[in-house]
């Protein structure tokens, strides 16, 4: 059951060496539902930034916005067809989230909370235009993590955007395939399986510092190939 859960989180079909897969299956079997990644992993990953942002650190909030801007944009695209309107609602949702940061208690992951704000902002927007807002059951907060955008997104993308997205995915997959095995394993266990550095260190039988370094080197290697395709954030700022 638990291993099926992990398989469902591995859509790109990256396979781990058998020794690590066995260890991962063991971790899966021992994990209680509340320990299963990536919800808890995301919650822990954002905690420091959320706390800093709550204390008025705008830079911390900026990092959270950069991290989730695409995810929120994709979500809102499912409710609102016009891309310009999606941008407006995204802007409003992030501002609302910033205003309401004081009320975020950390009972859920930051993105789950942001997801609800996004859904409510989009609904209010649609109602204000006299359009029918989707029912709450359509966008249950349980699907906040790992929702599948499905065909609807493909329909909305322009051919250019779709091509670029495809190229990004291909670049990431090609970069992953070219990574040395220990780097590929480390980043797969972190990004797809949502394990902590400590858990990865146990699985890979190496110090935590080595895990940290391997994940960083894997990211750097992929980023090296990806950077020309994405340009710099400055190019994309408005």
């Amino acid at each position: 059951m638990a291993s099926l859960y992990y398989e469902s989180l591995n859509p790109v079909g990256i396979s781990l060496p058998a020794a690590f897969q066995d260890g991962l299956n063991k971790l899966n079997a021992e994990a209680t539902p509340s320990q299963l990644p990536p919800v808890n992993a995301d919650r822990a990953a954002d905690q420091v930034l959320v706390e800093r942002a709550q204390r008025g650190d705008q830079r911390a909030f900026e990092l959270l916005v950069i991290k989730y801007q695409r995810k929120l944009g994709r979500l809102l695209s499912r409710m609102i067809r016009d891309p310009a309107e999606v941008e407006d609602v995204t802007q409003e949702a992030f501002i609302k989230a910033y205003r309401a940061l004081g009320s975020f208690r950390g009972d859920s992951a930051f993105y789950t909370w942001l997801y609800r704000i996004g859904i409510n902002t989009a609904k209010n927007y649609l109602v204000s235009l006299g359009r029918r807002a989707p029912t709450t059951t359509t966008y249950d907060s349980e699907e906040a993590e790992n929702f599948d955008d499905g065909d609807q997104l493909r329909d909305m993308n322009t051919p250019e955007a779709e091509l670029m997205s495809k190229q990004i995915a291909e670049t990431v997959n090609a970069s992953m395939a070219a990574l040395p095995e220990e780097l590929r394993t480390a980043i797969t266990l972190r990004e797809i399986d949502g394990l902590s550095y400590e858990e990865i260190a146990t699985l890979m039988a190496c110090p935590i510092g080595t895990v940290r370094s391997r994940i960083f080197r894997a990211r750097e290697s992929i980023a090296e190939r990806l950077r020309p395709q994405l340009g710099t954030a400055k190019d994309r700022r408005w």
Binding site: R52, I66, L76, Q91, Y98, Y197, W238
Partner: protein, 172 residues
């Protein structure tokens, strides 16, 4: 720069303590390229986790939101103190309900549900305080005793232990 990027990678994974996070956040003003790096890490993570391709939808709106926030046009609402709302509010509501019922000398048929409600709220409040106890009429009496001087006339004679409230003693 490589050290900064490695720290950023650890922050991305939530494997950085608050001191380290603060150091990175402070460095962002001098090293804006770290923001690009952070975004790349986010894209890599999403790309690995999602079967669907990435889009840039929402990025303009996100950047406009950041511009509004940076201009100090909006402020986060201050965090509500948890201590009052979560701990003492239920007890305050319970005490108010109980005193209201006693003070107005409400008949048993009305007072009993009020007492039950008060007891429920007290239970919730005390469980939050990790000290779950049912409302003790004697303790409530002691509370009323302490405040008898400022109580309305009807309340000066009130007792939670009285038969009217299911207790066994008559009001003094």
């Amino acid at each position: 720069m490589e050290k900064w990027n490695e720290d950023l990678s650890a922050l991305h994974d939530g494997e950085m303590d608050e001191l380290g996070a603060m150091r990175i956040l402070r460095a962002l003003d001098q090293k804006p390229e770290l923001l690009d790096q952070w975004e790349l890490y986010a894209v890599i993570g999403e790309s690995l986790r999602q079967s669907e391709p990435l889009t840039h939808t929402g990025m303009k709106g996100a950047q406009r939101a950041l511009a509004v926030i940076a201009s100090d046009q909006v402020k986060p609402t201050p965090q509500r103190p948890k201590s009052f709302s979560r701990h003492w509010l239920p007890l305050a509501v319970a005490a108010s309900l109980a005193l209201l019922a006693v003070g107005l000398n409400i008949p048993y048929q009305i007072a009993e549900p009020l007492r039950a409600l008060a007891s429920t709220v007290v239970d919730q409040g005390t469980s939050i305080l990790a000290d779950s106890r049912p409302a003790d009429p004697a303790e409530l009496d002691r509370y009323v005793d302490l405040h008898r001087e400022i109580a309305v006339p009807g309340l000066q004679r009130a007792s939670f232990v009285s038969p009217e409230f299911g207790g066994g003693q008559q009001a003094r």
